[in-house]
Assembly symmetry: C2
Homo-oligomer: 242 residues x 2
DNA sequence: ACCTGAACACCGTTCAAGT
DNA sequence: ACCTGAACACCGTTCAAGT
């Protein structure tokens, strides 16, 4: 669609880092991680590999740039709606990222890779900042800012990573129900001695709603934060062990 | 070390799926993800690629098997020490996984990939079961089991993913301090308009302890769970928005 | 049933050469 | 300064052939 148009004016606009990253995102969206190769990329840009390497150090840097671009867009859009509370702001950030992963299924894997490879890089910093402002607005005392924001970040990235697979198989509600039914059935077939708990919640898994589940987890973390770091007070001791 | 011994008896013990997975883990431990190639693997096993493909479908399956093996070991070991409380049990599971990632730095990335690719596969089920038993012991009413356990799972995997990089650069305390100092300095250099919060917590990030931070997050989730799902009661409404 | 190993298609990256 | 494109080293995977 837009491809045809863009291709016809190919050599009129000069190659640039942004053009390259843009094309990389398009390839990733269209065919997943395996769709992004230097051959596909150079064909789409009507150039040679050397030209790409002039603007980008290597494939890892290209993937990092694509990830950051998509995340930045998602966070900017998430910031638009007026928030009634810091809690809603946190949920908006989380759902914004979730939505971005739904649009770009490759994003979940890349976020995880970036996180593991470069734990405090620019991608992380962007999300961290968005969450941190809401944590501050929550009235958490300054001493708890870093800890509380990190916990939210970790939960959101972990949950988003798992829910990514839903995007890969977008499917109608029926397909989704079929998938959940299959997993639920598989759980019920697990060894009763090894997996008593998992078997017991097989029905709950079949009936669960990803978005509801995602938000419930955020509420656990938010509740924990406001309980253990009440506004204006020093942090309390964690829940007693024994 | 053990390699020499094993190599000399190479053709006496027959090739098997377990031997292959074991060798894969050794290669991953020794040289990271890029160290596991079919060429390195077949050389170590003194065989050809066809032999490996007879036991294993492809590289993805091999990586999944390596991941599951290491996770299973970690969870089995984590279950050994007697627990004074369900809370301590959850912490033991989390620290067990953390420890496994420290020993096998490639594990964090692979866990993230497995999670995104096959969200309810056997690896996830193993961790889910370990956490779920403690959630049940916590007295959470049955209706909240799935939600509460999932939230713990997501937090732990997200946090473990980020802390993986520390293992890659194991380093002494001095190297670690240098790294944190560099990140902290980079945060202070961020644009004051775009990153006010991140700049404000740059010092906290430099002084933070990964393990403490990790456990603090678990306490947030546990506190949220026991607050919103008090024993014997139906779930309460989430924290008010406005 | 299990293993061998040459061959294949494809990948990221380099670099001498052009403009 | 920016781009070209042939060439390189390496990868996962296949498959006809052996035992």
């Amino acid at each position: 669609m837009a491809t045809r148009t863009r291709r016809s004016q190919r050599r009129t606009e000069a190659l640039s880092r942004e053009r390259i990253v843009e094309a990389a995102v398009e390839l990733l969206d269209a065919a997943g991680e395996s769709g992004l190769t230097f051959r596909a990329l150079t064909e789409r840009l009507a150039t040679g590999p050397g030209a790409v390497y002039w603007h980008v150090a290597n494939k890892d840097e290209l993937l990092a740039a694509a990830t950051e671009g998509v995340v930045t867009t998602a966070l900017t859009e998430a910031a638009v709606p007026p928030e009634d509370s810091p809690q809603e702001g946190v949920r908006a950030v989380a759902l914004g990222l979730s939505g971005a992963i739904e649009e770009h299924p490759w994003l979940a894997t890349q976020l995880a890779l970036q996180l593991a490879r470069n734990p405090w890089g620019t991608v992380t910093a962007r999300i961290f900042e968005s969450l941190g402002r809401r944590v501050r607005a929550l009235g958490v005392p300054e001493s708890g800012w870093f800890t509380a924001t990190s916990a939210l970040l970790h939960y959101i990235l972990g949950a988003a990573g798992q829910n990514a697979a839903n995007a890969t198989a977008p499917g109608t509600g029926a397909e989704r129900a079929e998938f959940l039914g299959a997993v639920s059935a598989a759980w019920k077939d697990l060894d009763p001695d090894d997996y008593p708990f998992t078997r017991a919640v097989a029905d709950q898994m079949r009936e669960h709603d990803d978005r509801e589940q995602f938000l419930a987890g955020i509420d656990f973390v938010l509740t924990g934060i406001t309980t253990l770091h009440p506004p204006g007070a020093p942090p309390r001791t964690p829940p007693a062990g024994t």
